[in-house]
């Protein structure tokens, strides 16, 4: 490897500090444990990955966004994809948990698809975010990504003995409320789990949090309780989302709730700003902040602590 190559990789990691990466999940003892991508491939020689990667979660790419918080969201997505493609053990799946685009424009979807097509994985699974569904009937999203769900948006699939449920909580509008699954989808989801063995690891993913993170900013799903009740009997449940552009985790019994970073820009901690808008942070501060949440997950895979190690420490 030439000096130039090393430099490029280190620079890519720095940029991940600005825009972040995805989150890698490995199946360890029946429990899916999140591992930070940037830490999985630090600068210099690749660090050995102890768990076989199952999938990568990418979220909130916001293609079309060009404000101060990140004028080059295509660039940060590209670097994220480089990291995924450069992983020593490639995951078969990538899950995109929504807000693929920023303004739901055809050209934004086209660009996002073009960028994501560089991912060297066998399957890309998606759920829409509220930014992807503002056009009439969410036609832009469904024309491109509706096939897997027969244009419902929600669907399930199995991979490597793990059952995945893709849910949509951004399309049924409740005035003044939180994200909503809606009766039809809830009934489907509960039915989908009914005859499954409790030993099957379950991964549920949606765009908005499926648990209450910060309700004044709408960071939750109002009608999810009946589904969570059904999930309790399973030995390993991982509930994933994007939307809030930062990592927040909660463990409740056998259920791990985990929110992913954006590849585009960070958002403030719930309630710690006037609103949840894009966070404009000096580069060094941002790098340190992101580093805190990510790298600690690598050093202690079963720990859900989000502090102690910075991204700068992983360089």
């Amino acid at each position: 490897m030439t000096h130039h190559d090393k430099r490029t990789r280190r620079d890519a990691l720095k940029c991940l500090g600005f825009g972040s990466a995805g989150t890698l999940f490995a199946l360890a003892g029946g429990v899916l444990t999140p591992i930070d991508l940037a830490a999985a491939i630090p600068s210099g020689e690749p660090r050995p990955v102890h768990h076989k990667p199952l999938f990568v979660q990418i979220s909130d790419t916001h293609i079309g966004f060009s404000k101060d918080a990140n004028p080059d969201v295509a660039g940060t997505l590209n670097r994220t994809i480089d990291i995924v493609n450069g992983m020593a053990h490639k995951p078969a799946l990538v899950i995109h948990t929504g807000d693929i685009t920023h303004l739901c424009k055809a050209e934004e979807f086209d660009q996002a698809q073009q960028l994501l097509s560089r991912l060297r994985v066998t399957e890309l699974h998606t759920v829409p975010g509220e930014h992807d569904t503002t056009d009439p009937n969410a036609a832009q999203y469904f024309d491109r990504f509706g096939k897997a769900s027969h244009n419902k948006g929600y669907y399930s699939f199995d991979h490597a003995g793990v059952h995945f449920m893709a849910l949509v909580n951004v399309m049924e509008f409740k005035n003044g409320g939180l994200g909503t699954l809606g009766e039809q989808q809830l009934a489907w989801a509960i039915g989908d789990l009914k005859h499954r063995s409790a030993s099957t690891p379950i991964v549920v993913f949606a765009h908005m949090p499926l648990w209450s993170v910060y309700e004044p900013w709408g960071w939750g799903t109002g009608d999810v309780a009946p589904l969570l009740a059904q999930l309790k009997r399973f030995g390993s449940v991982t509930v994933l989302n994007g939307h809030i552009h930062q990592i927040v985790q909660k463990v409740e019994g056998n259920m791990t709730f985990h929110t992913a970073r954006s590849t585009a820009f960070p958002q403030p901690v719930g309630g710690e700003a006037a609103g949840p808008g894009p966070l404009k942070v000096p580069a060094e501060q941002l790098q340190k902040m992101l580093g805190v949440t990510t790298v600690s997950l690598i050093e202690r895979p079963r720990s859900l602590a989000l502090n102690d190690t910075t991204l700068a420490g992983a360089e």
Partner: protein, 107 residues
């Protein structure tokens, strides 16, 4: 001379059968700031046009909760207008951020 020409032009327009707009049709501006409609409640006369202008660097929509009208995603600086012809109470929301609400009473 100028005044005479303007009056003449107005006369021509009136004669051409263009719909008679009420004189100085009222317009009210609502801003979208920090994930809020400002003001959150508003009383207007029937026939008033509201202009919603997004001042956030995130995108928002303007949607009548009953589904009567809905904007596309508005980027920062973009606006959407709607004229309220009929009296009533209208609940306005952002379809992207359901916590954002506005009540408009049309007299």
């Amino acid at each position: 001379m100028n005044r005479f020409l303007l009056v003449g032009l107005a006369g021509l327009l009136a004669a051409s059968g263009a719909p008679a707009a009420p004189p100085a049709a009222p317009q009210v501006e609502v801003t979208i700031e920090n994930y809020h409609f400002v003001p959150a409640t508003l009383e207007i006369a029937a026939g008033t046009t509201i202009i919603w202008r997004n001042k956030d660097d995130d995108a928002h929509t303007v949607m009548d909760a009953s589904g009567a009208f809905r904007s596309d995603a508005l980027d920062e600086g973009q606006s959407y207008t709607h004229t309220f012809a009929k009296p009533g109470t209208y609940r306005i929301a952002c379809s992207m951020h359901p916590q954002m609400m506005e009540t408009i009473v049309v007299q």
